[in-house]
Symmetry: C2
Amino acid sequence: MNLSDIEIARQATKLPIRDIAAKLDIPYEDIVPYGHDKAKISAKYIETLKNNKNGKLILVTAINPTPAGEGKTTTTIGLTDALNHIGKKAVASLREPSLGPNFGQKGGAAGGGRSQVIPMEDINLHFTGDFHAITSANNLLAAMVDNHIYWGNEQNIDSRRITWKRVVDMNDRALRDIVLSLGGVKNGFCRQSGFDITVASEIMAIFCLSENLADLTKRLGKIIIGYRYDKTPVTASDIHAEGAMAVLLRDALAPNLVQTIEHNPAFIHGGPFANIAHGCNSVIATKTALKLADYVVTEAGFGADLGAEKFFDIKCRKAGLKPDATVIVATIRALKMNGGIEKSDLAHENVAALKKGTANLLRHISNMEKYGVPVIVAVNYFNSDTDAEIEALQKIVAETGHQAIICHHWEKGGEGAEELARAVVKMIAENKSNFHPLYADNLSLEEKINTIVREIYGGRGADIPANILNQLKAWDEEGYGTLPVCMAKTQYSFSADPKLLGAPENFTIPVREVKLSAGAGFVVVICGDIMTMPGLPRHPMAEKIHLDENGNIEGLS
Amino acid sequence: MNLSDIEIARQATKLPIRDIAAKLDIPYEDIVPYGHDKAKISAKYIETLKNNKNGKLILVTAINPTPAGEGKTTTTIGLTDALNHIGKKAVASLREPSLGPNFGQKGGAAGGGRSQVIPMEDINLHFTGDFHAITSANNLLAAMVDNHIYWGNEQNIDSRRITWKRVVDMNDRALRDIVLSLGGVKNGFCRQSGFDITVASEIMAIFCLSENLADLTKRLGKIIIGYRYDKTPVTASDIHAEGAMAVLLRDALAPNLVQTIEHNPAFIHGGPFANIAHGCNSVIATKTALKLADYVVTEAGFGADLGAEKFFDIKCRKAGLKPDATVIVATIRALKMNGGIEKSDLAHENVAALKKGTANLLRHISNMEKYGVPVIVAVNYFNSDTDAEIEALQKIVAETGHQAIICHHWEKGGEGAEELARAVVKMIAENKSNFHPLYADNLSLEEKINTIVREIYGGRGADIPANILNQLKAWDEEGYGTLPVCMAKTQYSFSADPKLLGAPENFTIPVREVKLSAGAGFVVVICGDIMTMPGLPRHPMAEKIHLDENGNIEGLS
């Protein structure tokens, strides 16, 4: 039983992807196979689904993450399997993992235990090439910017004010801050720039928010690549780049279909950062899944303060999605850490610490209620959880009028989350969702920021320096004020201080920088150090990852 | 009839790729489909072919390229179709085009007229992701090099002597010469470096010369990334990078199967530079094709002085391939340019210029004979060719004991090259190939260079500065002397001066730099300016490439 995730994934029998597609009534000619176990759903076929009724949309989110782990992706997959287990037609709709970090220190992002999506190695590496397409489109635009300047700079781009960076899907700190175009006349005009990791590209966010190819092209054209000497913005369409970028992204925009180890369909498509972007899988994948299944289980990045807030206020608002249920994942271990216990002491029963740490969960519950969507808590079970702890947690949650259901999907697969599945189905049937975003479009950008800080984070307000306030006001006046804001802060705390666990109060959120993602359609509000290009550790996983004599991948976890 | 290449490609009906595989008796479960019109052949299946008899290997090469065009890829495809047309089981084995240059000014690289491979757009863009995999593996190694130094530099890498560069599959002159790791302690140690285009990566050459995954891994480990303070080389295996790089390349190493517009099988796999690398498609694809077909038609980069020389002296030598026929492609237009006529005057009959320019073809013919493989000339017909010109050309070639056959495959497809196909089959049946490389392994590196300059280029010898001569001698002594040399010089002339057309004599070849590609297994001899990162023109194709309202790609040619 003590198999590693990768061993479980490898032992799983895979059904041919055409059989998975058949479960959703998708004919073979309408899938675009990538091998025998992955496929894209053709855009033409998606077009035919237009008039189908939508299924129910379930968001899986979580308390603030800790090193003890919550298992949000695992629970998303477990709940999907459980829904299928009780006879419902359910699909998981997940984010694609990034290639680069696999070679650093992170494990994969395909679930765990008996709740996984397969083929795990493919999903974690090149998969169907979507991220490579995004990298190419991003870097074509960058090359065209420098090329425009090289050939005379008709647009009068101020090379000191170019904001568009190149990207690479690799953890490579050496590329964070570079000087380009050295070597004289033939290489262009020397300037300082840098690389982000691919998932941090605005194109990733655009990709995930686009409704179709035409919308994608329009959004790509709106990307601001920098500013002229007169400080007016220069867009991708000013240098005629959006068409070729869309060509590079065309095939990638079709959602990817794989399977859980219990042979249930899972869409895995797009994966923007959850700080400088909105952290949700693609609108196209979610909407396609809703047309094909009765229940669609999706997830958002980080804890509910960042992930769910953006899911509701950016993705659902912009895409017109109406979620039907919110599942908040917690673990007793992580709640005890929120209650002040060190990771090394988590194996011991500690009801007092649990109770204290549950404050974090309770605030997330009351936050989620503000969106008008019914809420339930999924407790991802660990062997170290004691009866007394479970009882205490369930009692506290019950006092708020909600249920906390213990789930064993990690160990048992869908069967282990049957109780959760039944409770979610019942909740959706009995409690009609009345979804609405937290704030109205016509609030000013400053008011939007303060609303989130007060209503979701529980702070007193945002601390916005005068120059940034002026910038926000200028955007309000230039017509960008109706955009939602995308908060970039630490995922570890409601506050901007990663060490303030539980449910801190009386803090302010310092705003350091704001950035207009005009193509994605949001204003990024940066509150703290946000890393857009990770580095490798002293001994990266890459040193151990290799092929065995049969060509199997070893060392990828 | 005046359809563009892309129009012809779009009008072509495509057979499902499983039907193309079936023509080669490959079962559906042994192909790895990428959509319904592309597939890879699984490594497991290739293993089962081991004991099959090999088909005949035909190299298509050309006179020195001119702006008038020769049509080497087109002829390779046309001959394959023609062989199938006369009832032979024939496969084309071609190089993959690079993505980046599509957005600059070049047209695609999938043949032309009625001799094309399809799906043309896919092949020219992301295809099956092979180049993205190579980019990732290259850049993982680069990140690991800088990371190694960052964390203490146990190997004592001299950061001034790092030779490994990053790559991107994009024409981006701004990345040619850069400074990395600015921004202080957290970003590492600042140093100067640069990016090449992906096809220039040594990994591309390794990929194309590897026999299997184990061989690939071994070669990756041998890559020299730079030198220690004591000037000893540091390899990829010294920093434990080869395993993870091989993981990134695993799926890519399986050859890609597509079809000609006449539904004949074509393998398209790998595409290294023809100057700093050997310019041939992958050994795995060629060998797999030989196991599956009676005739395999392959091509090499540039003219025969560079492309065929490397095909024979690097690829065939190293992979143990024994080619059975050499086809030299020429056009009357290009021969007239070699005879001194401007491009604008090519439409007029000029037998004198043709005769003069034919000196270029004749030297290639006599060069090719030195390898012991029977030679034939394919004249790729243009409408402007006159009977007098054709007659004159055929007569001159006949005087050397060879045939020059007029081919109409561009206009008519396989049927148009029937005469060539029959002549090639007859030549192979009647003239047993006695292939041998030009020079022996045990010649010194200097002697190898001089042999090529004298025997193939027709020059007096190489002009090698003392410091480079010392480097070559050092490599001879260190055990690298048995490697073949890989000449990097202009493709436009036998000499190092691109303006010396025809068959120049009495020149020397100046050697500017030598480079050890220890993983690929050759010594690169650089004779002139070699561009390893192209730039974009003033108005790149990217400005016009776009999707139409139906999601079709427009502007890619």
